[in-house]
Amino acid sequence: MDTQWPRWEVFKQDTPHKPHQAVGSVHAVDPEHALLTARNVFARRPQAVSLWVARAEDVYAWTQEEILEGLATARADAGLGTACRYLVFRKTSHKRSMTFVDHVGEVEATSPEEALQQAQARFSDTTALAWWIVPADKVYQSDPSPETVESWFAPARDKTYKQQQYYATVGSHISKHKRGRGVEDEE
């Protein structure tokens, strides 16, 4: 049977002080491969300084609608096990955007559902439209060393030929031909 390899969610950080944001996913076989692939897919153009990847199946997601319906607690088989760290991502706007949820912080909990409850209490400054909770040890990051950051993310800035501004001279202009087919405007 064919497979397209497992799916990994990708989080991209644009500049050092911005949060990592969910940008989409890639299919890859292991964390290193997923990170390399994510770099090729999501950092073809500026900007990026860091990438995180996590297996799609390790991401616990709830929308506001699901939470209102009590689905987040209904699924809690929690309370067992030891506490571990969870990264928390949140969506707060319906505006047009290229990204989904943003990283807001982390919590310690014994289950994803408990982590969600803590996240709701802790990050309550604004309405959350969706939450993603990911165990911290299931998230893999690109090497943060300056050398790697330079190697992975800086060259995209020089590839101006794939940016539309490079072709500024061919912007749309008001036509002289509104009057009819092939007829030159005398004005």
Binding site: Q4, W5, V26, H27, A28, V29, E32, H33, L36, T37, R39, N40, V41, R44, E147, T148, E150, S151, W152, A154, P155, D158, K159
Partner: protein, 252 residues
């Protein structure tokens, strides 16, 4: 710069650029036909980078003799090209392509590392730019060699087969061009001998760790860049077909 040194530098820059152009061309044949969408994107990335490197090298030559990069790429015949034979070989299967790119990336990364302190400032500057991308390429192709080598029996066999074919061709990367010793003496380009040693050490270690069998019986080892495989002619015939289609065309 003395004129013999200048001539040698022009020849070296041409060889560097020609390798990149032809290798990029071979890899570009994959675009749209890769084994999975993500890898189409990845290989297209390498292709763009290598074309960028070629442009930089030709650009340095242009500063020396005013030659136009596109004229060099699209209006020279096969016998005027100075690429190595490794890059001319048909793209083969995915193992062949990944292995060639790995062997080449490793050479390029090591060469660039050694060329960072070139006494010729324009070359040192170009190296700074290129080296960033080559570090990433190498990570990528290294990962592929490891995965194919340790994947299935079939992938290991295909990779081994590619290695048997490419190993001796790859040695040509370390054959100095005529006059290169002048450039080395002036500190303009690094001596290839120690780079070859490092390359042999790194590649042997990595390939063996990936489950490949080395050493390979040395077979034919190309030495002169004035000599080519029988593939280059038709590769160029295709590559140059549009550029040469309209003799009057000044710009494309």
């Amino acid at each position: 710069m003395r004129s013999e040194v200048r001539e040698a530098l022009i020849a070296k820059l041409t060889a560097l650029a020609d390798d990149e152009v032809i290798l990029a061309h071979r890899n570009s044949e994959w675009v749209g036909h890769g084994p999975i969408l993500e890898e189409d994107i990845a290989l297209a990335n390498i292709v763009q980078d290598e074309l960028g490197h070629a442009t930089l090298w030709y650009g340095l030559r242009q500063q020396l003799d005013g030659s136009d990069p596109d004229q060099l790429a699209f209006f020279r015949d096969a016998n005027e090209y100075r690429c190595c034979e490794l890059v001319e070989l048909p793209k083969g299967d995915w193992a062949f392509t990944m292995l060639r790119q790995y062997l080449f990336d490793l050479y390029e990364a090591l060469w660039l590392e050694a060329a960072r302190h070139s006494t010729y400032q324009p070359l040192a500057d170009a190296v700074q730019k290129i080296i960033r991308e080559e570090r990433f390429h190498l990570q990528h192709t290294q990962a592929w060699v490891e995965r194919l080598g340790q994947g299935t029996e079939e992938s290991n066999r295909r990779l081994q087969q590619a290695l048997e074919m490419q190993w001796s061709y790859a040695q040509q990367l370390f054959v100095p061009i005529p006059g290169e010793e002048l450039l080395v003496a002036e500190g303009i380009v690094p001596d290839l001998a120690p780079i070859k040693e490092r390359w042999l050490e790194h590649s042997t270690r990595h390939l063996q760790a990936a489950g490949l069998k080395l050493p390979i019986n040395p077979g034919y080892q190309p030495t002169s860049r004035a000599y080519h495989t029988e593939h280059l002619w038709s590769l160029l015939a295709e590559m140059q077909s549009t550029a040469r289609w309209d003799a009057e065309a000044k710009v494309w």
